[in-house]
Subunit: 392 residues, 2 copies
């Protein structure tokens, strides 16, 4: 049957040429690509000892460097210069690299660019970066493993407190669709520059939860990942306001997200999902700006969340009003107040001030000080440490 043969041929060449293996594929070059001869190469290439070679074809460039986020090797995230071979391909080998999910970019004669040989690109705020997963024990929680996976839904909900229809991501654990059970809910907030994409793209929260639940380390729970920028309906490209609300108009939204989380998001989730709706089946955590949101939300609503966590954020010059609110948090009872910060974090002083306030006001808490700074590597680790403590 010729059509079948034809389709098999088409499919077979597609299978060979495209998809997953990071080849620089001539077949995908558009009509306007110069017809230069191209050697197939791989970037990034992970060696057997977890050394990683990054490559970029740039025959005309004078200088190519590489920036890698949170590389735990000498030099930190300082840019590293690549060397050019006679074919115009620049390369550098780093490592062995510790198992981790890295983001990286090249700088070609002053212009920052993703790796064109690597299809996996994630947005961090306004910047797009290439991603590299080096597997191993330390990264085991971030990998997509052969375990039952939860469902990640992009849901739009009405937010009268803000005056917008807004988007939220909802992770429901494996089995949710058919179990008939009710689940506790964990509200997980991003930092400044981020949006509702961040905890799934950079934070790998769905896979972290899948893996923890599969190992019996975390209870099955619903995870709700909001957009903390009250002036936005959704992430760039998914917001009805083209190019967003003008900066001049944004200050009028200050404080509204924190209100909307309690007035709009929690009721929406509890109405539309099978949830356990008492305080001790609600947790909230946030990183950086989202840690600030978490403090504000729980201080303003001390009866709503039984589990509170603040990542890489704290309090600056907490005053008597702050004390009073923490005392309300204490009086209402909190099963877990968990705070974490990297020792190199620029917000370490605010973390210490929060610690002092919690001590002063007798709020019991657990603290975790990691190495490193204000990085997604740390936030993924904090999530993986926190989730097993929730709802137990």
């Amino acid at each position: 049957m010729k059509i079948k043969n034809y389709l098999i041929r088409v499919v077979a060449s597609f299978y060979f040429l495209i998809a997953m293996v990071p080849f620089d594929v001539t077949a995908q070059a558009p009509a306007n690509t110069p017809p230069a001869t191209r050697t197939v190469f791989v970037s990034p290439e992970i060696g057997s000892n977890n050394s990683v070679t990054f490559r970029l074809r740039a025959p005309e460039a004078k200088e190519v460097s590489l920036s890698v986020d949170s590389v735990p090797v000498a030099g930190g995230s300082e840019p590293r210069k690549l060397k050019k071979d006679t074919g115009g391909v620049w390369s550098i080998t780093l490592g062995p690299l510790a198992p981790e999910l890295y983001s990286y970019t090249f700088v070609v004669d002053g212009v920052r660019t993703i790796d064109p040989s690597n299809p996996v690109v994630k947005r961090d705020g306004r910047r797009n970066e290439s991603m590299l997963l080096v597997n191993g024990i330390a990264s085991d929680l971030y990998g997509v493993k052969n375990v039952p996976h939860g469902t990640l839904s992009k849901v739009w909900y009405p937010s009268p407190a803000i005056g917008l229809t807004r988007r939220v991501y909802v992770y429901t654990p494996p089995g949710y669709e058919t179990s008939g059970k009710k689940y506790p809910v964990f509200y997980l907030l991003h930092g400044s520059g981020g949006d509702e994409d961040a905890w799934t793209t950079l934070g790998r929260a769905p896979y972290i939860m899948d893996n923890l639940i599969a190992e019996g380390k975390a209870k099955p729970m619903i995870v709700v990942m909001t957009n903390g920028n009250a002036f936005q309906s959704a992430a760039p490209g998914d917001d009805p306001v083209e190019n967003g609300t003008p900066p001049a108009d944004r200050s009028s939204y200050a404080g509204k997200f924190e209100t909307s989380l309690v007035k709009d998001v929690v009721p929406y989730i509890e109405k539309n999902y099978r949830t356990l709706t008492d305080k001790n089946n609600r947790a909230i955590a946030g990183l950086s700006m989202g840690g600030g949101h978490t403090i504000t939300i729980t201080n303003n609503n001390p009866d709503k969340f039984g589990y509170v966590a603040v990542f890489s954020m704290g309090a600056r010059n907490p005053d008597s009003t702050f004390d009073k609110r923490l005392q309300a948090v204490k009086a209402n009872g909190v099963r877990l107040y968990w705070i974490a910060c990297g020792v190199d974090d620029r917000l370490m002083d605010t973390y210490k001030a929060l610690q002092k306030s919690l001590d002063k006001n007798g709020v019991p808490y657990t603290s975790y000080e990691s190495s490193g700074g204000h990085t997604w590597a740390n936030w993924r680790i904090y999530l993986a440490k926190l989730a097993p403590l929730l709802f137990k």
Copy 2:
């Protein structure tokens, strides 16, 4: 309350500096960016008449050009050279551009790069490209409008026919969660180089459906967007197999996706969603390779789908076996067999051959020949033309 003031200050500066407006923001530059003075500029900037200015800072570059997908202005997608100003910012103004969703890249001294000033980047196969929406009547269906939005879920399902747990995207229409109703199901397949991401990122299918349903043009329906690469569990970065199945092993997967759609996907959807499960409440469509899948699936299962559509694909040298199968399609009855192709499409000959086969075998069909070629602009238009014809 100082903490509140502090948070407001942090939040206010964040609001001002980051997020939606496409500024080149110095505050976001990493530690290793040269401390050069930077002027804030916007790229892409849409003028009042829909002319668009693209800008890139590249003081060291010798040549910067721009490639825009499917620009309906003189020159097509040929690269266009930008001009450098005294500050090292290169720019070019195109247009007025027709309302459309464009993808574009810069080429800087031979290196292809996304626009670092534009956060909206989508992957087309292995290539990442910057996206630009020029609003207007013709693009009205692709925009994120203030209408009720459906939910888009990323779901993992067992696929015994392939031997993998695989990911599928499921769009449920506005109101699904609370209506209690059953819905018809539309299976929508991507092309070669794509995966389960493609119809939502490049095809804007959820927004097209939201907008058509809001206007009463399309019936509320569930849309199921599969991954047609049988060797993959999911898109790059979400596949448990690091770097994918080796190309040498992929040929053993040929034909399995087509089987799995009927044996695995349809039963999973009909078990886990409130669906209408008769033939006339099932539709299937695909573009390019997915059009080939659609032909194979419906020829092999003439009793399963009441609505069939093939975008930018057809048949090559259809033989008597092909005829026989189309006769089975006819005998089983099909409410709509809809085929579409762009006049400049390199697969136009296969489209014409399919047309001829449908004629020869007496399968009634509707054909639509558009301008343009093998482009996402066309596939979005075809979806918007097809969806109103389904389940009526």
